[in-house]
Symmetry: C2
Subunit: 315 residues, 2 copies
Amino acid sequence: MLDLAIIGGGPAGLTAGLYATRGGLKDVIMFEKGMPGGQITLSSEIENYPGVEEVKTGMELMESWPRQCMRFGLVHKMEEVSRISQNSDKSFKVHTTGGKEYDAHSVLVCTGGRPKKAGFKGEDEFFGRGVSTCATCDGFFYKGKEVVVLGGGDTALEEALYLANICTKVYLVHRRDKFRASPATVERVKRSDKIEIILDSVVEEVKGDAGGVTAVVVARRDGEEKREISVPGIFTFVGYDVNNQVLFQESGEPLCALNEFGEVIVDLNMNTSVEGLFAAGDLRINAPKQVVCAAGDGATAAIGVISYCEKVKDH
Amino acid sequence: MLDLAIIGGGPAGLTAGLYATRGGLKDVIMFEKGMPGGQITLSSEIENYPGVEEVKTGMELMESWPRQCMRFGLVHKMEEVSRISQNSDKSFKVHTTGGKEYDAHSVLVCTGGRPKKAGFKGEDEFFGRGVSTCATCDGFFYKGKEVVVLGGGDTALEEALYLANICTKVYLVHRRDKFRASPATVERVKRSDKIEIILDSVVEEVKGDAGGVTAVVVARRDGEEKREISVPGIFTFVGYDVNNQVLFQESGEPLCALNEFGEVIVDLNMNTSVEGLFAAGDLRINAPKQVVCAAGDGATAAIGVISYCEKVKDH
């Protein structure tokens, strides 16, 4: 019986593993089918992780984490988890796609999430080199420049407003004739003299060169007009997939409470609605989706796990 | 009118300043009467800040933070804040002990807290060299060794249980004949075969040498017995002072809701009960009191501040 099974090897999972093993838990496994490090390893530039002064790639930033976090006994299993279920004695069972099962007193789910692809030409080629899905992360790199934002929901409009504080101009492209965002946010976007709204339009393509994106081709959906906007960056906000699949039971119900977006509902201690089951990082509600926040979540969750394990193992 | 006034220059304040200015806020002042870095700079060893692999002193860990966090326009004022009040237009006023006043659209309070001193001989001399106030931080340094824990409340007993997972033995010293902690926690402590309970007793002195603490002198309060316990460490949990003074108004009421311990009540976004007033780090409820958690709080709060400022400045 494991003390703790950590599902996911990004900043939250690694930090939780560090804190849990350093805090005296003996059997802690982090399940991550690939190399640990998480989604941030896809990022080409990060300069806002406090304590790391140099601008690094995500891969460089995370390079030392597995070494540091596994120093106290955390074990990494390169197995993919298919599902977490709860045993009748309130412990948990981790099921892997390879057909293995592991029992654990507690489970921390930190499987993150992933922004949806918009599907235009050049999106993958220029990802991290002008195509971004995070204004908080990358907006500053476009200070004093113009950018395109793609999307029509709350996130897209809020991020457009965020970027309008930094950039000289934001072209906000949305495929429909009205926004899905809340009326107050739409009003603020309309009042901004830095945001040009382009409705009924799609991004067909991003063009670029070795230095990254140079232009975005925007087309009206009625085929009436095509426009090439010279910008070094495009931010896409067309949806977000929460990696919550491991929580779904054979009945189709999730193991713990989720919100309408599928994010795990947690309190300030990263407790979910099920005792002994914790969540941290990008898959929880209100996640700021920043490395330092996910790491903080992981530490917080581990402290709770240690206390929980003391209680259940004492019975 | 400032966009944001940050009160306190520890990991939370510095990270918030980084995120706020990098996110486009123009006028952001961090009020910290001393050098930035926070309470962690008093720590002699830290090895659990993820991404910093080497064991460093707290001072070394924080050395680069002010440079990194002030790179985007954050201004540090070496002024002491006496009070924060709210103006009739819902903006805030920061009052300094020097008699100055600053108006700000939003305020982030991250003034931290401080463990109370127990008052025994050698406490200050050996602080950070065998005398600790944080088991999560320092417990691991006593793996396989014996330690003393001083205190009788929930924190003391929970930390004693935490240390019992790591250390070979924990001497739990309490001045009264019973513990103030919750009955369930007391029961778990009593059941632990690693914890020796020493009631009606006080710590008179810690003894040590150049390498740190070597022994703790424990005396019964009735004067009947004095005992020198050979240990390399003592953890004291005799209370905690939350640095919430700046929130108290001339009426004696706090500006926002606090819990029974004086900690600021926040939600997952670090909002307090007053819109535009945020709190982060050790002075908030449920604070894990770890550098990475405080930094995560700061980033979270700054993202909320940016969004708040967009709204209020738009009116």
